[in-house]
Structure formats: structure tokens, C-alpha cells
Assembly symmetry: D2
């Protein structure tokens, strides 16, 4: 049984953009929620001692490590949070599982489907809890979308369209970053941001049946960066030397869903003026809804059952106490921001570990997402539709 | 030379939705523009005498005919406007050309590509002027988009996305209409509204290279209508008998453009709450723009060259006297509506006939659009990409 | 009894901006509506023969006059439309009434309240029909707002806020125009555009009780224009000589309504970037609504009775066949423009004359609007609240 | 000189809505900013021991007190944060100052102007640092607005309009709260939310010259609440007994600014559907801007100097690293929420205390705001304009 003073100790690998977002979640979750255990920021881990020590101080971790193997082995760690670059996910995950730790892994779960499946199998065999950080599921407006669909308020789903558009690469002088190398990142816009769109689609309307896509690398070589920022912004220092970009700048694809819906997805880092334009629009036989991460507190909904004279897309501000998670923050109309989704997913994962409450997205969802990503890549090679079952 | 009192006589076949919109354009063009000849509404033609006579009175035509062959042969007709159902376009067009008339034809130009090419060849051989009524090119905001792109203000084009979404078929009780029978309409949402999106894409950024698509007929049979309305709205009377829908309710497709841009298109009559959501969004290396027919006076534009602190999508109200066509109407801020585009295209076509001024879209554009439509259909059959050159 | 071939002959004084808008309405009304009589554009009148002759040709009037006295006296005129500058309204109106004509007068009805009351009294005594052209009442979205309020869907009204913002005077080099001289125009932004807001408020929620205001003339002298355009745009030719602006550039005021609602109004020609930003927002005990002339087909509505989770402002596109007047134009989603409101008011006034159907706004509404305008001016003089009953 | 390990100890009075928001700021500021001293959450104070103890645990305070006199006297407190109900501000502030503490006080500074002036004088005499928590100044989009105006990009200011609209009282069954009693809260919507609008106006365009207003208490008695929530939401438990509402539900007023601009303000808790609609719109001779707290990351800006064809309101997403404070959080496009403003003001106040960096808003700004609030109330009594110098 979980006691009032129960604690759960976190060890985290990675301390850049995602490391900061996750740290914030551990720091704030106890203030706004009532998790079944107090979350303790036990240890943070990174290869550069100076960097990781500074992060530990700044973010409020009790200790730091420079070798993830050591951290994973520590007795005082209950679950391991992995937000290091994607090529490190598998090895750390398998070691953590072997050490009996629960694992909370950033997306994409793995560099490829085979690795992802191996990780899922290992986690299931070991009986540890596992999560992939598809954080956007946990926003109040997205939860509301899910509820509306699950209650049948949209009827049968006909159309699903998603965009995830950024523009941080449209400047050809934006320097290289690990996110632009296939061997580290797995893929570019596709694995980084289409992954989010694919997960939201699965969350909201169900499984993919087949896909066909196309992609581009608009700028094929870039100056080498002179520092090592997290790499989601232009303007970092750069040298005159250039390096090859080996991932996609943009990937688009069509999808057929198992429920018969038509899907359309595009991810790009070349959409001038679109900063974090993660959107979905869904049309069903009874209504429609639309969401945009840049206005993440809002959900637009249309119900055909409204009086004909008075039907129109409603702009719902999902800040009411009746909206999931919103009541834990501020009174109605006081919006929350990007990082709050991490607080919510951390809360749910802690509940899952401590109380056995249902939780998704797990590694299973990471694998299912990876299947779609790879099917799209295969369709690009083949120039034709590829069934998800084929990968 | 065109004299002050020069006249141009129009004969029009069709008198439903499009017939009304065209009639209005002929009626109003001389009031707001200075065409090189006075447009005379000489004769309107339809098979149902009672109906066509009423339309002639209502819309202000000098005379009416019930046999288009007779009208096409009349000496007092300078150009023939064809907005009868699509399956009649070819025969009337060829007869009009044979009679030496200029032809202004509604889209889609023909039921299929072969017919379209035959019509184009005939028109060119005869030396008559010809137009396809892709009216949306002629809106001030769309003209502004064209100007921005042509001036290089968006740079190299990376992305083109279009939607044309309506919802008049989402109710399964919406009755049958000629637009839902393949033998009359050629196709459904694809030929009716994707055709507009394809034409706008060609107008704005150039030719298609290859496409791959999918489509759906969500509701496969519908009640037979008890009257014969133009068919763009629900709620007409219907009987208990049903008829097969033989066209697509929705078609989506990916495109590669010859200039390297990635394209994404969807047309649907099943997008609940979207009434006439004809949109495009274009991203280039220097900026982006976005347009929506439901807000047809507005253009959203983003320029990367704006000061970083102050860059943002601008909502331009294209009602300034400096915006093409806008100055012919009302002072700044006084918006125009849907039907104004027809006034503009009629103005330009009359100028083309009378002064030889450049004009597009001609039958050539009708054929190019049809090529893309058919390539998409072929890609659906094949399950793979199809080059435009293949059709 | 009104016969099928019944006609109603219009004589119109004025041929600039409003003359064009009214002419268009007479030209189009019979095509889209079924008025009880055919509207005949019998005669147009202006002092400058060349100008008025050109307008007659362009707009489609059968004849022209250069002396309004002559036109008003013509036997073949049934009603007189007056859209000459405001200082001419009274004299022409009284003469028209004396000649037994119905009168359709642009706003403001008169230069001052006393004149307006005299005109109303004359019209009532003579038993002629009379109208003031508060055209915005006749837009589908505004009609929908009225219907929602009248049905009690907003409950008790608490707040009414209106803006009417333009920016055509913010450039100090914009030349003088008759609209900027008190002796011709009566007032500036106040009488020109606050008048519209006052009329809409009276139409929607009822009578004013008291007001208090302030105003400004930001630019006190302007270059003299070298031509004589209608004067709603910058950039006309100007000389180096200057003339005094004797009207307000902007007027704002608070209001208490007789029903207890709080009101807030501002009209300005100095609101940079706002072109025709005629808006109202209304809050009641059961809901709210918002409208903006620059998006005139849309109405935003909020109902408190919606499920708490799903309540939000609905963006209603008032283009359904169930929306008043909208069904006379195009299918759903095909928007109408500024000039359509004139078609609707002309239709209603013709019905009123020919069938006795109810009609407002009449001269009574012109007088009631003038009362509020003058009460605001008096409050500015006094520096305190002024009851409407005091003027 | 400030050392690396320098600390600043906070003692806070109050632990409801504002106490939570302030606690969060103290908790997070060190993670995202580099304050000149580490902020230590030393002690929280409230009358109800159980409540304050729970808050201390939940929010992360080192200790708690139930008597503010005791806390204010503690040697280990450097500055006192006061967010207890408004009627307690003065006494606690004066005691804190007497104890040599710096003071960070929630708005409104005092129940009336005389009290505010006394507090300001005491603080200045004692030489302690003082702040009033007008938090909205510290949002990136508001800072950008300030910068645009200060750089002269809007030119001479002509118009300032603000709304602060909520709807948590529109339900007559929403129970009583301390915010609805004049003796505790000072005033209603006026002091609570017009205060924010007044401060933003002073911050952005300067001092008020004179005002005239009106107000309403739409629902004059309400059920007595059965618990003691912070009181910004409906739905709390209530009994059948009723109590008198002694503050305004809504207050609106006109203003003349010293720089000649016209102002218009309205605050209401009865604006159905408006949850936290704190907006300003400013028009100057060179441009305009608009902001809305419900979309707090966005600023809309219009520049007249833009090319005429391309001018339009820009929607700027103030999440670039060049936008003040934004770079401390997440990459571009990742929005922040309501509570972030408190982090920023706390950061600036700590810098002010520790480094002497300039800081506003101080008690001076609290007094200036109170002057406007009281001048409005006086104008309501008198029914006429009141100069700010008169109060």
C-alpha cells in the first residue's frame, strides 16, 4: 500500500531542452497534483561533468553522474528517465530494465522498429513499467478532444489531417545539430515531429492501415555549429566548414485508417512563420474538431446537432475546472503553457507505477508509432502504398 | 478598333446556380468596370421552357432558347457561355466553335482528358477565344498572392497545401443530384472542387510533376430527389427510393511539383462545419501565405525579412484601391463577396476578345487541370505515384 | 392589389459613393428577390451635368436631371432617394414630401435634431412612406443577432459595446472633403459612423437613457483637395493651401440604456489599420454575441446553456438558407459583400410601399439616432451626463 | 557585492489563489533565471493553522506561521510578500516596513488612496524596496508592446481601449466571497481587474488626466458560501441564506490622458463567455497594436509604414529568444502560461533588491492606480468628469 510519505526516486539521463522540461515536471508535480508518492529528483546524468553539474544545481537534482551505467545501477533510483539523443535510447533502456528499473523514455522510442520491439519485449518480460513521452496527449484540450470522440459526439470518423510545422531550418545558415544526422536522430522532421502527429492520431481515432509518402531535404549541407545547443533554434555560432544533412527536412504522407478514415500528415522544419504549428483537424459524421499547439488551451468544435441557424465552430477555452488537469492549475481563463503537459504525464506515470492505474503511451505505443514512421519511409522508397502490417 | 458603342453579345446555356452567378456578372460588369465593349445579355438557353423563360425574365436576358443548337447558330451571339452539366460541355463547345463563336466554359472543361484535348485543339484551330471559368483566380486576395510570389517575395517554394472542404453530403439523407452521377459529372468532389485547388496551384506556383491519391464514397446510395435543384444544398425534397452514388465524396492526394515543391490536396463534401473552406497555404524560403475562400477578402502573409522581433503573419484586407479589382468596388474595408470573381473574369475575357489582352485560364488550363485529375484517379487504381506525363 | 407587372419608379439625388451603392441595389434587387413591384431606375440627379450624365449611363438610369426640384416634381417618380451631402437632406426631403413622394434618405437624416423632427413630422402628416438608410440592419448576421436577442436567448442585456473604426484620416496629408466641414456634414466620425453604431444598438437592445462623451480633432487643418472625390480615401490630389477641419476625428461615449444595460461607443477615423471595423459585442445573462463588419457574414455567439465542458464562442457563418436574406443569394459558405445590405433594405422598402409590410428604420429612427448624437455633443460641452430626454 | 551563494529569504502572508501563484514563482525562478540571490521560501503565514500547514507542505515552504506579526518580526525574513485579502494590506505592510523588510504587495495596494499614500510614504521613509504585483507588465508580449511604443513605432498615441472581462458572477447562484464585500475588497470588478487595465495603460502610454464612469451591481444579493474558496469561480457550495453584494459587478469609464489620447475602459464579471478577456488596443499616428490575456503569447501589430499593398495586423508569437523573458523558457513556438508573469516579476524584484536595478511597479504605481480608481468612483457620484488631480 502506498503511504502518505511514500517516495519515488527519479534518475534522469540528458539535460538539454528535454532534460529541462522533464526536470520542471518533477519539480512542480507535487505542488499542483496529489501523486501517490513524493517525486524525488535523485540523480541527473550526462557525459560532460561541468554541464551536468550545472544542470543539477540549476534544476534542483540531489546528485549527478557522468556515466549512465553507474546511475542505472544505483539502488536509490526507482525509475529512469531517458532524454539523451535518440541513438542512446535502446542501450540505456535495456540496461535500466535489466536493473529492474521502470523506464520513462523520450520519443522516438528507438532509431528503428527492430530496436523498439526489442525494448518493448524486454520491458514486458521484466515486468517493469514503461512510458514513451508523447506529452501532447496530456493537454486539457487534447483530452477534451479524446472525450468528445470517445463519447461518439463526432460520429463515424471520415477525415483526419495533421500538420506539425516549424521553421528553424529554413535559414540555410542554421548550423548542423545532432537532430540532422541520421545515425544519431534516426530521421528528421519525420521522426521528431510526425511522430507526435502519428501518436495523437492513434490516441484519438485508432490504428493506421496503410500509408504513402514523400519527403525532402531542401538544404543538403550546413555549417558546423561551434557550440552544442539542443538544436531547435537558429542563430547559434557556426563555422565556415560544412557537414551533410542526412535526414529529411520535411515528410508528408497520406494514410488510410483501419476504421475507414482518410488521413493526411505533414511535418516540416521549413514552414516559414510556423513556429510550432502542431495541429489536427478531424471530421466525423456528427461533427468536427480542430486543435493547434500554438493555442494549446483552445479546442474548436462543431456539432451538426446544433440548431441549423446557430451551428458554428465553437472556440472552447479548456481552462474550466471540468477540463481534465485544468482544475489543478488556475481559475478559468488563466491559460497554461507548453511545459504543463510534462507535469501531467509525469503525474500519470507515477500513479501508474504506484497504484497500477491504467497508463498509455507505453513502449507499445512507441513501437506502433515507429511502425507507421517506417512504413512511410518504405513507401517513399517504393513509390507506392505500404501496409502497416508489411513492416 | 473598339468603339465607344461597341457591343458584345452573350448567349448562355444553363440557368441554375452557375447560370445565376454568370448572369449577375454580365449584368454588373459595365457598372463597375470599363470593358472594351458593352456586354449584352442576348439569349439564355435551357431545355425546360418554363424554367428558362422565368430565368430570362429574372436575370434580365433579352431572349431565350430551348435548343442550344439554335442558340449557338444565332448570328447575334458573339460568345457562348456554357454552364450546363458537365457532360454537355464538349458537344456544345464544339458546335459553338464550329459556328465561330468564342467560348466561356464552366469547369471541369470536360468529362475526361481526351475530350478536353479535343476541345482545346478545336478552339485553337478555329482561332476563337476560349476560357474556363476558374473564377477564384480573379479575387483581389488571390491576385495579391500571385503578385507576391511572382515578385519573388516568398523565395523558392517548398510547400503547397490546399483544402476544399464542404459538408453538404455529410447527411446521408441529402438526396441524389446530377453532381453525384459519374456519367454526368465526371467525378465528385475531385472534379468539382479539387479542380479549383489544382488550378489555383498551377496559377500560383506552376506545374505538377507527379501525384498519388486516395478517395472515398462514404455514403454509397441516396434517396432520389423529388425536384431538380442545382444540388449544392441539403434539404431538398426526397423520396424513399434510392439511387447509387457513382462519384467520390472525398479525394486527397500528394503532389510533387516540377519546381521541387511538395503538395498536399484534399477535397471533401463530408467535412462537417466546413461550408466552402477552399484554402491554400504556401511556404517558401523567404515567407509564407495563407488564404481561405470563406474570408475571401483576406490574405495572411509572413515575411522572413521582417525584423525578428516583429515578424508574424499579417492579415491583409485586400480591399485597398491598390489591390487588383478592389478599387472598382467600394472604399477600403468594404468587403466584396463570392459573385464578384465572376464579374472580374467576365471583364478580363471581354477585354481578351475585344483588345487581345492576355488571358488565362483558357482551355489549355482546363486540359492541364484535367491531366492532374486523371493522374490522381490513375494513381488510386494503381496504388502508386503517377507522373502527369503518363496520362 | 399589386399586379405582376406593377412598377415602382425611383428618382435619386446624388451619384458618388452612396449613389453607386444605391444604384447597384436597384439594379440587382429584382434578380435576387421577388419585390412586389419591378424597380425602375427612372432618373438620377446631380448638379454637374457631365458627372451625372456619366453616372446615369454607367449605373443604368433611364434619364438624368441637374435640378433636384425638377426631378422631385416629375410625375413619373414614385419615390425619391436622397444621398446628396447631408446639408441638402432636409430641403430635398421636404420638397419630395410636398410632391407626395415617398422618401428614402441616407443617414444622418439631418444636420440637427430640429431639422430631423421637422422632416419626420412632414412625412407623417403627408402620409408618405419614409426610410433612413441604416443599411447594416439588413445583413444576415445582424438579423440573426436580432433574432437571438428577441427570442430571449441572451437573457437580460448587461453590456453593449460598439466600435466603428476607420483610418482614412490618420495621414495628415489626406486632403479636405465635404465630410470634414461641420456646415455640410453636421459632424465628423460621430454623425457619419457613430450614427450607424447607435442605430444598431437601438435596433438590437432598445433605447438610450443617458450619455457622456468626449471627442478629438487630432489634425486641425488639411490641404485642400484638387478634385472632388466622395472623400473616404486618402491619396487624392491636394494643393499646398490648407483648410480648417471643423468636425470631430473621433468621438467616444458611455451610455446607460433604458433596460439597464451599460453601453460604450467609439467612432474614429484615426484607428490605424482598422479599415471598416464596425463591431458590436453584447453580453446578457444567458449569453453573448459579437459581430464585425469586416467579417460581415460571421456572427460569434456564446450560450451559457451549452454543456460547461463544451461552451465556447461559436463562429456562425450566416450563409445558410435559413439565415434571413442569405438564401436569396448563393449556396452555403458563399459569402456576400458590403453592397448586399443595400439590396435588402431596398427590397424591404419597396415591400413596405407596395404591400404595407412593416418597415424600419424610418425617419423616426433617424430622429432617435440624432437625439443620441446631440446628447453626446451636449455632454461634451457640459462635461457631464446628459439625458436623452433633455435634447 | 552579491556572492554566488547569496540568498534572499521570503516570508509570505496568504495562501489561496495568489499564494499559490506566488509560491510557484519562488519555486521556479531559480531554474529558469539567474537571480542575484537564491530565493529561499522561508515562511508562509495564514490564520488557519491546518490550512497554512498544508499549503507550506504542498508549495514547499520551510516553515509556517499563523500570526503575521510574528512572521514579519522574524530575523530570517528579507522580504514580505502580502497576498492576503485587500483590507489587510496596509497593516501588514506598515509592520513589515517598520521591521525593515522589503515588501511585495498584491494589488490593489490599499482599500483607499489615503492608505496607499501612507504606505508609500512609509516605504520611502524607511528606504525599503517595495513592489505592487501588477504581474501582466512582465509578459513577453506586453514587454514587446512597451518596446514598440517607446521606440516611437506607433507615433503619437490617439486611442487606448481596454477591457477586462470575466463571467464568474453572471450566474446569480454563484455564492458570496470576500471579493464581493466593500469593507474587505475595497471595490469589485473596478479595483480587482480595472486596476490591472489602469496599470497597463500607465505603463504603456502614460498618465491619466481625467475620467468619467458608470457602474452596476447587477445581482444585489447572493447565497452565502459554505466554504471559503479563493472566490474566482462558480459552483462552490452555497446555503439558502443570502448576503448583500456591496461592490460593483462592472465598471466602465472614459479617460483623457495627459498626452492627449482618448481612453475607454471596462471591467466586468458579467461578460458571459469571456473568461479572462484582459485586452488592450492602442492606435497611434504610425500604427496600432492589440493584446489579449487569453492569448497572452501573441501581440497583434499594424505598421502604417508597411507597403500599402501588404499592410495588415501581424500576429506576432512572442516566443522568440529575442523577446524579453521568452528565451529563458522554451524554444520558439512553445508557449508559456499565466503563472510565468509572476516568475518574471519576482526575478526583477529580487534583482532590484540585490543589485539596485531599476524596478517598477512600486507602491508609487499602486498609488497612481488608486488615484484613477477613486477618480472614477468620484465621477460616478458626481455624474461628471473628474480630474485625477482632484482626488
Amino acid at each position: 500500500m502506498v503511504g502518505v510519505n511514500d517516495k519515488i526516486n527519479v534518475g534522469m539521463v540528458g539535460y538539454k531542452f528535454m532534460g529541462k522540461a522533464h526536470s520542471h515536471a518533477y519539480k512542480d508535480v507535487g505542488m499542483f497534483f496529489e501523486p501517490a508518492a513524493d517525486v524525488v529528483m535523485k540523480a541527473i546524468c550526462g557525459r560532460d561533468e561541468q554541464g551536468v553539474k550545472a544542470a543539477a544545481d540549476k534544476f534542483g537534482w540531489e546528485s549527478y553522474e557522468t556515466d549512465w551505467r553507474k546511475m542505472v545501477a544505483r539502488d536509490d533510483i526507482d525509475f529512469v528517465d531517458i532524454n539523451a539523443p535518440s541513438d542512446a535510447h535502446k542501450e540505456i533502456t535495456l540496461a535500466a530494465i535489466a536493473a529492474g528499473k521502470h523506464v520513462f523514455c523520450e520519443k522516438p522510442l528507438a532509431l528503428n522498429l527492430a530496436d523498439g520491439r526489442e525494448m518493448l519485449e524486454a520491458a514486458e518480460k521484466a515486468g517493469v513499467k514503461h512510458a514513451v513521452c508523447f506529452n501532447y496527449r496530456f493537454l486539457p484540450a487534447v483530452q477534451l478532444a479524446k472525450q468528445i470522440i470517445d463519447e461518439g459526439r463526432l460520429g463515424e470518423i471520415h477525415h483526419y489531417r495533421a500538420t506539425y510545422l516549424q521553421d528553424w531550418l529554413v535559414d540555410p545558415n542554421t548550423p548542423m545539430a545532432w537532430r540532422l544526422k541520421k545515425e544519431v536522430a534516426g530521421s528528421g522532421a519525420h521522426g521528431d515531429i510526425n511522430a507526435h502527429s502519428i501518436d495523437l492520431a492513434r490516441f484519438l481515432i485508432g490504428e493506421f492501415d496503410r500509408v504513402v509518402g514523400h519527403n525532402r531535404t531542401f538544404v543538403k549541407e550546413r555549417p558546423i555549429a561551434t557550440d552544442a545547443a539542443g538544436g531547435l533554434s537558429a542563430g547559434a555560432g557556426s563555422s565556415s566548414q560544412k557537414d551533410q544533412v542526412t535526414v529529411d527536412d520535411a515528410t508528408g504522407f497520406l494514410a488510410d485508417f483501419k476504421n475507414g478514415a482518410m488521413g493526411m500528415f505533414v511535418a516540416s522544419r521549413f514552414a516559414a512563420g510556423r513556429k510550432n504549428h502542431n495541429t489536427f483537424e478531424i471530421h466525423g459524421s456528427k461533427g468536427s474538431l480542430r486543435w493547434d499547439l500554438e493555442k494549446l488551451n483552445e479546442l474548436e468544435v462543431y456539432f451538426r446537432e446544433d440548431e441549423p441557424n446557430l451551428a458554428g465552430f465553437r472556440r472552447i477555452l479548456a481552462t474550466e475546472s471540468t477540463h481534465k488537469y485544468a482544475g489543478n492549475w488556475w481559475p478559468t481563463g488563466h491559460i497554461i503553457g507548453y511545459e504543463h503537459a510534462f507535469v501531467h504525464i509525469v503525474y500519470e506515470f507515477v500513479q501508474h507505477i504506484k497504484t497500477g492505474s491504467p497508463f498509455a503511451p507505453t513502449f507499445y505505443d512507441g513501437v506502433k508509432c515507429q511502425e507507421v514512421l517506417e512504413a512511410v519511409d518504405l513507401s517513399i522508397e517504393r513509390g507506392s502504398w505500404v501496409g502497416i502490417d508489411e513492416v
